[in-house]
């Protein structure tokens, strides 16, 4: 029983699914469009809620898939299904036959410049959460120059009809508070403000993280969305928001503004997804057959989904789904 | 033996005695002069009023010499105190009596020995100068040994307090240790000097006395002379007004720092919190440590247990209130908004039920009370069903009696307009202030424990007896403050079985939720509550019953069994 299982996407979901499938005696094949495995999580410095180094997790996952057949810098350009299964053509012209396909294509980061009022790409000191994470990883970012006041804006590209994303991106609140702690660790004298709409943090240890921001780091959480950013004569950022708990508009000058960019569906897979007959849901992510018992299944027999391609998800969510998709695929092969 | 009537070793004693007498005299004048004019008049009058005069004599002996209250609390400690105080007193008395019966030593004239000056030190060093008659000699030795036996207990207590049944003792500084050492050694030295007549011991004895007397005003032993004054002042009916002045000064110096209140205090669940007990408060206030005494005053739960068990009945809670009043909270209270509330009563009924702020948070008490009153067919109305004005007690607890007036006045108006002849309260906190600060002539004020008891006893309310084992917790403001101990217990015996708690009635332990404390944190309160619950669970009851909404809420956090209000228990049995 050495059936091929085609896994599109070599991030956390793809790697974990491959690991499990291999243990089950199947032959997973990972197709990754970038030059390394690991996906977004490999770009991350530390993970919430306990500041665990992302590298630890990624390294362990990489080690587990070292014997899995992997194509890097490769995309699936065509895929057909017949009675024998799936027949994929890769961008390197190789052809692969597989009994099942797992879409583990993950997410894209919301393009912050789309929220024009925040001035990302226009004002020097506006940056994204991803860039801040990179700063934590490398210690370098010319925008961060011993800042005295740092602001975080939640829900950038989420819960916002103006950018056509009405969903909550799930991980940004927790990430914002994690990053708020981390920036305080680097600049203990800085004042850190977060502008949130609702603090949606519900996992184990998340409330402790919140209390940590309040008790240990004195992070100031302001309920209200930043509506407008501009630059003053000194190149500092002037932001406006309403403190909705206080019921008054508020104005302040910041040295750095960090935009907590939402997860969006990874659209680079759209063409293949269409060929496989997998639709999108209202949020623009992939539609699974139902959110309870069919979370890994799609309308198409033999096509499975795992991870953030169906909705914004945290790493534990994704790993859980990757493990469950492996079981689904195994049952499908042995049906 | 000796043929002099004087020897230089008496000088240290004479000096010490002169110093301490002068100090006490000045102190006495100071305290009396600081009394408000009316209080001073009261004081003089009380000294000649037979009733108070008799009480003075009774307590001066009972408390100062025999320490009756300590006997009640702890016989070993009682003996220790009696042995030292009464023994010492007797030695002085017998010494003076002996002056008239003495047999002078070789060649000294009796008349000379009985001179004024010699009187001052003679009885103290009697054996050096004269010989007693056998009876007196026996008595002197007896009392001396009695004192020494007391000192032995003190030494044991110092080394290992648990042997004498004391868990926590006060921690003293160098001065207190030194004077204590002097006190402990005075009588052994005297004994040795008398028996051996070695000059060194006479000297040591006299120097010990000097040390003791010179240090006395600056240490806790000042309680010995002050206590007498305090007893007189208290019997005169004087009340606490300001901290560190007049009457309170007498109270402060009367506190012997015996530490009985430390073990009694609900806060003594750990070492850190036991520093908040009254003994420390009195000491800090005495030492003019304003910051600390204010801190303790704000921390205290005001449960009143320390006052109840204090051998001297020192009103430490009242002193703490007066201390709180001196804290500049600067709230500038403005309760003028209460004026707009209509006082027009919707209807008139005999019984007016006032649930109070806290009871609003425990609606089951309100529901139970309604059921009871309806079942008993009472003509009642609910005063604060739709919103309540605070009774004013919490404001007073912060030392702001004047600011509480607005609330007291408004509530008084509301109650009077209702036409009720009886006011029933569910909250003991309210009960205290309604009883003490409100002027509701013609209106009977009852806590619902009393009210229910009355309904049951008059047959208005029929209850059935079940087989649940209850333990009753005495709310501080109901029990210690008004000694309402029996009514709730009788009610409970009618509806189930009453089991005893480890500490009951006047020594019951505060639930820890008391509004009296401003600064205790939730964690600290939780520790107190856990300890109080343990105490209540001593006889494994099925349910804890209390009569205060705050106790109810507090216990519910920590109790392993159901916690109910007495009204709720009764409403289940009608």
């Amino acid at each position: 029983m050495k059936e091929n299982i085609l896994i599109i996407g070599g991030g956390a979901a793809g790697m974990e699914a491959a690991t499990q499938l291999q243990k089950m005696g199947l032959t997973p094949i990972i197709i990754e469009k970038s030059e390394t495995l690991g996906g977004h999580i490999a770009q991350w410095d530390r993970l919430f809620p306990a500041f665990h180094p992302a590298k630890d997790v990624v390294d362990k996952m990489l080690d587990q898939v070292k014997d899995v057949k992997t194509y890097l810098n490769t995309e699936v350009v065509d895929i057909q299904k017949d009675n024998n299964g799936f027949h994929a053509v890769l961008s390197n012209n190789e052809k692969i036959d597989a009994k099942a396909v797992i879409l583990a294509t993950g997410f894209d980061i919301f393009k912050a410049e789309r929220k024009q009022e925040y001035g990302y790409g226009i004002y020097n000191n506006v940056m994204t959460s991803v860039e801040l994470e990179k700063f934590f990883r490398t210690g370098k970012d010319e925008r961060i120059n011993n800042p005295k006041k740092i602001g975080f804006v939640h829900c950038v590209g989420a819960r916002d009809v103006k950018v056509c994303n009405t969903y909550c991106s799930k991980v940004c609140c927790t990430t914002a508070l994690k990053q708020a702690c981390e920036i305080k660790e680097v600049f203990p004298d800085a004042e850190v403000y977060t502008f949130y709409m609702d603090l949606r943090m519900f996992g184990p240890g998340y409330e402790d993280l919140y209390l940590k921001t309040q008790k240990d780091f004195d992070v100031k959480c302001v309920r209200g969305r930043v509506c407008e950013v501009s630059e003053d004569m000194d190149g500092k950022l002037v932001i406006k928001a309403e403190d909705t708990l206080f019921g008054k508009p508020l104005k302040m000058t910041l040295d750095v503004l960090v935009l907590m960019c939402a997860m969006e569906k990874n659209k680079s897979i759209d063409a293949i997804q269409q060929k496989l007959g997998v639709a999108n849901n209202n949020d623009g992510f992939m539609q699974n057959s139902d959110m309870y018992l069919g979370m890994n299944n799609t309308a198409q027999d033999g096509v499975f989904v795992a991870g953030a391609c169906t909705a914004p998800k945290s790493l534990p969510d994704t790993i859980g789904e990757a493990r469950s998709v492996a079981t689904q695929v195994y049952n499908y092969i042995n049906r | 033996m000796n043929s002099q009537i004087f020897h230089p070793f008496v000088l240290p004693f004479v000096l010490g005695m002169a110093f301490v007498l002068t100090y006490c005299l000045v102190g006495l004048i100071r305290v009396i002069s600081q009394l408000p004019k009316d209080d001073r008049k009261k004081f003089w009058r009380s000294l000649v009023t037979p009733k108070t005069a008799w009480a003075n004599i009774r307590d001066l002996f009972g408390d100062c010499l025999f320490h009756v209250k300590i006997w009640k609390r702890n016989p070993v400690l009682g003996y220790m105190h009696t042995a030292i105080a009464f023994g010492w007193f007797m030695i002085i008395v017998i010494g003076h009596v002996m002056l008239f019966t003495l047999k002078p030593l070789q060649g000294v004239e009796v008349e000379r020995l009985q001179g004024m000056f010699t009187n001052f030190y003679y009885p103290i060093f009697f054996k050096y100068f004269a010989e007693e008659t056998p009876v007196f000699a026996f008595l002197m030795d007896f009392f001396l040994l009695m004192i020494i036996s007391g000192i032995l207990i003190a030494v044991v207590k110092k080394i290992h307090s648990k042997i004498v049944g004391v868990k926590r003792v006060m921690h003293f500084g160098f001065a207190d240790s030194l004077i204590r050492f002097a006190l402990w050694t005075i009588f052994p030295f005297r004994l040795i000097a008398e028996k051996t007549n070695i000059m060194a011991f006479w000297w040591l004895y006299s120097i010990d006395l000097l040390i003791f007397m010179c240090m006395l005003p600056f240490t806790r032993y000042m309680h010995i002379p002050t206590e007498a004054l305090f007893i007189l002042l208290r019997h005169a009916g004087i009340k606490v007004t300001e901290p560190r002045k007049g009457y309170v000064l007498a109270e402060l110096y009367s506190c012997p720092s015996c530490g009985l209140c430390i073990d009694a205090c609900p806060m003594s669940v750990n070492d850190k919190m036991s520093g908040n007990t009254s003994a420390y408060f009195m000491k800090k206030l005495r030492n003019k440590d304003t910051e600390e005494s204010q801190r303790i005053a704000e921390t205290c739960l005001m449960c009143g247990k320390c006052v109840k068990i204090c051998p001297l009945s020192i009103e430490s809670c009242d002193i703490k209130f007066s201390q709180r009043a001196s804290i500049p909270y600067n709230i500038n209270s403005d309760h003028s908004y209460l004026n707009v509330i209509s006082t027009e009563a919707e209807k008139s009924s005999k019984v007016l039920y006032f649930a109070g702020c806290m009871t609003q948070l425990t609606p089951k008490i309100m529901r139970a009370m309604k059921q009871i009153m309806e079942k008993a067919g009472e003509d009642y109305q609910f005063m604060d069903e739709n919103g309540v004005i605070c009774c004013g007690r919490p404001m007073m607890l912060s030392g702001k009696t004047a600011e509480a007036k607005a609330m007291v006045e408004k509530n008084t108006e509301l109650i009077k307009k209702s036409g009720a002849t009886k006011l029933v309260l569910s909250c003991p906190i309210c009960y205290k202030v309604f009883k003490e600060e409100y002027h509701l002539e013609g209106i009977e004020i009852q806590h619902h424990t009393q009210y229910i008891d009355e309904l049951v006893k008059t047959g208005k309310l029929k209850v059935s007896k079940g087989d649940v084992n209850y333990v009753y917790h005495d709310p501080c403001e109901l029990g210690r403050a008004f000694e309402i101990y029996d009514e709730p217990r009788e009610v409970l015996e009618n509806v189930g079985n009453l089991r005893k708690a480890k500490s009951e009635k006047e020594i019951s332990i505060c639930c820890g939720g008391s509004l009296g404390s401003f600064t205790l944190t939730q964690q600290e309160r939780d520790e107190i509550t856990a300890n109080s619950v343990n105490d209540l669970m001593f006889n494994n009851p099925d349910e804890i019953v209390t009569a205060c909404p705050l106790c109810l809420k507090t216990f519910a956090r920590k109790s392993p069994v159901k916690v109910k209000d007495i009204a709720e228990v009764v409403s289940e049995k009608i």
Partner: protein, 103 residues
């Protein structure tokens, strides 16, 4: 010249110039103030709040938004009954903090 109207003061809270001395002092004595999640239980149960705009939650915000005078005015309504402290889900000793604000 009287135009029959005048410049209205800005309603913006100017965070750059807010004086946080009182709040910071309060926070130092009572680190718990930072754990307030603005649930409003204190306000909802408040005895004085029954009759006035009294709200401890808002008062804390006032101190953080430079409206100390308003906060101190609000405290005057307080009856110190302590219900707020009893209901606070974060275990904040509200009554003490109230007293500390003006102390």
């Amino acid at each position: 010249m009287d135009f029959g109207f005048c410049l209205s003061p800005s309603s913006h809270v100017k965070m750059d110039s807010v004086d946080l001395t009182t709040f910071n002092r309060l926070k130092e004595i009572n680190p718990d103030v930072n754990t307030c999640i603005a649930c409003g239980s204190c306000t909802a149960t408040c005895t004085a709040g029954n009759f006035t705009e009294m709200s401890f939650r808002r008062m804390l915000l006032m101190l953080q938004r430079g409206k100390e005078d308003e906060a101190k005015k609000m405290i005057q309504r307080c009856m110190l009954c302590g219900k707020c402290t009893l209901v606070c889900p974060r275990g904040i000793n509200i009554r003490k903090i109230l007293l500390d604000i003006t102390r």
